[in-house]
């Protein structure tokens, strides 16, 4: 598919402080890309640069094969959804949605038709005559989404659009946005600091940290093969430990636990490298009889309904979080119990560039 | 304190332009090219006076006759402010042609070079009770004296001359005087035993010593003439220095006020022509109408003031004539406007300081 957005070494600095280090990114048409990262990581800066509300210090922005670096925001043919909805309080819902179309001087009949179509897409055709302040937060955001897509902009920017909503609404709207994206094949650049949102909705996640792109990958890959300690720590729960490399693909975790055939391990023997193991990849057994296991002791048991999290501590003092599906027979896990841990070599993810990106 | 009188003759438009700096000059020059409302050569005459019913009466009698006779239009304006006059002459941007002002103001303006010399070949000075001056001609006189409320202070209970006004034992009550030295010094000297005919040159030290005695009994030093009557009718003051014309106007309104016609201080009111007036000759002719006996009488019959020409008295209504301060009476003081023009500023500063302490 065609390339919709391309960033070439785009940079933003305010005096001495660099808000965004030189960044490259390419978004294909119809793709849903999420900028994920903690606050201050540069994701909003990046969004504003693409939107045209701030000018880059260096680099180029291409939209649909056109260099728009010098093009003002109003000629970039973009759509945008804001966290605080940014609906015009002095206009009705219909006028709000019609706004981009009236700017484009579309015929009145067409405007009326397109507005109704957009409102139907977000299931709110009945509020057309109301003022935004008479609607709930979720309804307002739906209107804002309708307004952003009614004129088929080449790219829709969404700046934490669900940040102000409660959990239930958020999940419902996540689903709706995803559906709209699939139905209308819109290209979306979505900003959030919520990892679940990013994982649920995106084709690709672009993880940002301290003004840099940490890793760009589809959600699955981002979750299972994080490239850096930051990526591993930011998405989901992870156990990051340091292990000694013993040979090609071989590591030693504890005195009685060594693994070989770890994928993507490039460090030379003798080095100590960080690796990640997801809590659900760890097998747990009571006692310490088995061969090739890590011996540990249960510190804490957290019952979460369908799953149970256990915090265990090895003889070397390393803590692991272990996640297990709750079964009635497991009810016996208790603090102080001796346990043995094990996991497969294929679940061990070397970090910090140990794996090729 | 020094005055600027001697220097006032000198400044020219060019001086001012230089003073205002290059920028101001440029703007001034620019604006000078724009059309203004400057009065044309043979255009109407602008006549400025103190406004109100006095000017209304003059308009109906003297000015109306002038317009009927000559066919020259006269535009009345109000507020003959010396500052405005000075600025007009200094900048050459004349608005006024004929100015009606009282007493020392006229002389001060003449000395400051703001007025044309009176053309006494046009203006007839015969039979004047009040001497004509170089820059202005007297056309009526007004008497100042004691005002009171006859309901509160019937015959024998109110002062009838300045010695009695000063006598707070015999005539207890709140006094009201003006907040300026003019007339106050004359009163104070007469209260101290100086004969009305021997007032000038005023013995300023003696006058202030006399004023010291009345100071604690003056409940208000009045800023505006209208207040001299309103404070009396509102019972804020018992005895006040006011003018016969004001008291009579109030009486016509049915107010309970009375006036003492003895021991009055009579001051002249003058007309003058603006220096450099483009309608100089027509303006002088208007001034000559102000000195016509029958027109003066017509005006004074309305307002109750005294005409400046003795020959006008023959045309006065009997009741108006009966209320004229007798200029021949040795108890009547006639303000020496020349003395005030000479000493006014220094005495005023001293008076204001005296008021503050």
């Amino acid at each position: 598919m065609a390339e919709m957005v391309r960033l070439d070494g785009i940079t933003k600095a305010y005096g001495e402080t660099v808000a965004l280090h030189p960044t490259d990114l390419s978004i294909r048409e119809g793709e849903f890309v999420t900028l994920l990262g903690p606050s201050g990581s540069g994701k909003t800066t990046l969004l504003n640069l693409i939107a045209g509300s701030t000018a880059p210090s260096a680099g180029e922005i291409w939209l649909k094969g056109r260099d728009v670096t010098q093009v003002p925001a109003n000629r970039r043919e973009l759509g945008m959804v804001f966290q605080n909805y940014a609906l015009f309080p002095h206009m009705t819902v219909a006028q709000n949605v019609a706004f981009p179309l009236t700017l484009r001087r579309r015929p009145r009949a067409e405007i009326r038709r397109e507005v109704m179509r957009a409102l139907e897409l977000v299931h709110l055709p009945h509020v057309a005559k109301r003022k935004p302040r008479e609607l709930s937060g979720g309804q307002q955001q739906r209107i804002a989404i309708a307004r952003s897509l009614v004129y088929n902009p080449s790219l829709i920017l969404m700046d934490e659009p669900l940040g102000a909503l409660d959990r239930k609404l958020r999940e419902a709207l996540q689903f709706e946005i995803k559906k709209l994206h699939e139905e209308l094949r819109m290209t979306v650049l979505y900003v959030t600091h919520d990892q679940e949102e990013a994982l649920t909705m995106s084709n690709r996640i672009c993880l940002m940290n301290e003004g840099r792109m940490e890793q760009v990958a589809p959600p699955q890959e981002m979750y299972f093969r994080p490239a850096t300690e930051f990526a591993a720590g930011f998405l989901g729960v992870s156990n990051i430990i340091r292990v000694a490399v013993e040979g090609r693909g071989a590591i030693r975790v504890g005195e009685r636990f060594a693994l070989s055939g770890v994928p993507g391990l490039t460090a030379a023997p003798g080095e100590v490298v960080p690796v990640m193991i997801r809590p659900e990849a760890i097998r747990l057994a009571a006692g310490s009889a088995a061969e090739n296991v890590l011996e540990a002791e249960v510190e804490d048991v957290v019952f979460l309904g369908g799953v149970t999290n256990l915090v265990v501590r090895t003889g070397q003092g390393e803590r692991f979080t272990v996640r297990q599906l709750t079964r009635r027979s497991d009810a016996g896990w208790q603090g102080g119990m001796p346990v043995s841990l094990s996991f497969d070599a294929s679940d061990v993810v070397p970090l910090n560039g140990a794996a090729p990106q | 304190m020094t005055t600027t009188k001697d220097r006032l003759d000198a400044p020219t438009r060019r001086d001012l332009l230089r003073g205002a700096g290059a920028g101001a000059g440029a703007l001034g020059a620019m604006a000078a090219g724009l059309p203004t409302l400057a009065i044309a050569q043979d255009g109407p005459i602008v006549w400025v006076a103190y406004g109100g019913s006095t000017q209304e009466a003059q308009k109906k009698t003297i000015v109306a006759a002038f317009m009927a006779d000559t066919g020259i239009e006269v535009i009345p304006a109000s507020g003959p402010d010396l500052a405005k006059l000075k600025a007009q002459v200094q900048t050459g941007n004349l608005e006024w042609d004929v100015i009606g002002v009282i007493g020392s103001q006229a002389i001060r303006a003449g000395r400051a070079g703001l007025l044309e010399k009176m053309d006494y070949s046009i203006v007839d000075t015969a039979d004047l009770d009040i001497p004509p001056l170089e820059y202005c001609a007297p056309y009526y006189s007004y008497g100042g004296g004691i005002g009171y409320d006859p309901a509160r202070h019937p015959e024998g209970r109110h002062p009838t001359n300045w010695q009695e006004f000063w006598d707070v034992e015999r005539f207890p009550g709140r006094r009201g005087l003006r907040n300026r030295p003019d007339e106050n010094l004359e009163m104070a000297l007469m209260a101290d035993g100086v004969a009305a005919r021997d007032l000038y040159p005023l013995d300023v030290d003696r006058a202030f010593a006399s004023l010291d005695r009345i100071k604690p009994h003056v409940s208000h030093w009045i800023a505006g003439t209208p207040q001299t009557i309103s404070l009396l009718t509102q019972n804020e003051i018992d005895f006040v220095f006011t003018y016969s014309g004001r008291v009579e106007a109030a009486q016509r309104d049915g107010q309970s006020v009375a006036y003492v016609y003895e021991n009055n201080i009579v001051t002249g009111a003058y007309v003058a022509v603006t220096r450099g007036s483009r309608n100089r000759d027509a303006a002088m002719r208007l001034v000559s109408y102000f000195l016509k006996p029958e027109l003066q009488a017509a005006f004074c019959n309305i307002m109750g003031y005294g005409p400046s020409k003795s020959t006008a008295r023959a045309h006065l209504e009997p009741e108006v004539l009966a209320r004229q301060p007798d200029l021949q009476d040795p108890g009547t003081a006639i303000t020496d406007v020349e003395w005030w023009a000479e000493n006014g500023e220094a005495v005023t500063t001293r008076f204001k300081t005296w008021l503050l302490t």
């Binding site: 109003n74 973009l78 004129y151 | 205002a20 103190y50 406004g51 304006a77 209208p226 014309g245």
Partner: protein, 265 residues
């Protein structure tokens, strides 16, 4: 903007309400005294009037110079309010929405006519306009009033602009509106209450201004306050009471109408 607040947060204490209502009464009191005076008779101020009549109103309407100066005042006030709204509004927009060097100093300069005593400004302007031959012209008067009104407009408009959500303007821009489109379709409609308020304020300041007008106005451009003030040498015409009452009632009517209309939207 709808605010959701509980009752207890919004109702000021009894003491505050008492002082506030005393304050309103204090502000209103002179007008309440002037109103009955306006139905008096005769040529002097009188309170309470001995008899009631419409004489003063009749006199006001039958005397062309009263009506003319009222019209001049309204005209000058409207023009200088419009002018100061335009340039003051633009300045406020520039100050709030843009960053540039020397902004702070420039802002203080733009607001400084507020900081200079009017008598000083009056004298300065009179001399200056005399040089420029602009005394006595209507446009000169309008410019002078605009100088005095602009700072008030800037201050109120800045406060109003700060309350307008920047995102609304950004949203409109991204949807394709030019800066002019954003201004006319979004910013100005949102600022309507502020524009109304600062316009009214500017109008009133100009309408009430006497010191500068006294100097700068001419024979044909006498404003109402100047007409009142320039006759004070001998008398204060009680017609003033009628004028003041008339204006008070008129303005009250207009303002209440505006308030009612505002709610209708």
């Amino acid at each position: 903007m709808a605010r959701q607040t509980t009752i207890e947060e919004r109702v000021p204490s009894a003491a505050t309400r008492l002082i506030a209502w005393l304050g309103y009464a204090f502000l209103l009191m002179p007008s309440l005294v002037v109103l009955p005076m306006s139905f008096g008779t005769g040529t002097e101020f009188d309170f309470p009037p001995k008899s009631f009549s419409l004489d003063l109103y009749r006199e006001y309407f039958s005397e062309p110079s009263w009506v003319a100066s009222t019209l001049t005042s309204l005209q000058v006030a409207a023009a200088s309010a419009a002018l100061s709204l335009l340039i003051g509004g633009l300045a406020a927009y520039g100050i709030v929405r843009y960053q540039f060097r020397g902004k702070k100093l420039l802002t203080i300069f733009l607001l400084s006519p507020m900081l200079v005593p009017t008598i000083v400004v009056a004298l300065a302007l009179y001399l200056y306009l005399g040089i420029a031959r602009a005394t006595g012209t209507t446009w000169g008067l309008i410019l002078c009033h605009a100088v005095v009104c602009v700072p008030y407009v800037i201050v109120t408009m800045m406060a109003g602009l700060r309350q307008v959500d920047r995102n609304l303007e950004i949203a409109a821009t991204i949807m394709g509106a030019s800066w002019f489109g954003v201004l006319t379709r979004v910013t100005i409609p949102l600022l309507r209450p502020t524009i109304l308020a600062s316009g009214l304020f500017a109008f009133l300041i100009s309408f009430d201004e006497v010191v500068i007008s006294f100097f700068v106005s001419g024979v044909r451009t006498q404003t109402l306050p100047v007409k009142m003030y320039s006759t004070i040498h001998w008398e204060i015409s009680p017609v003033l009471a009628a004028v003041s009452s008339l204006l008070t009632i008129l303005s009250l009517g207009i303002c209440i109408l505006v308030a009612a209309l505002q709610k209708e939207r």
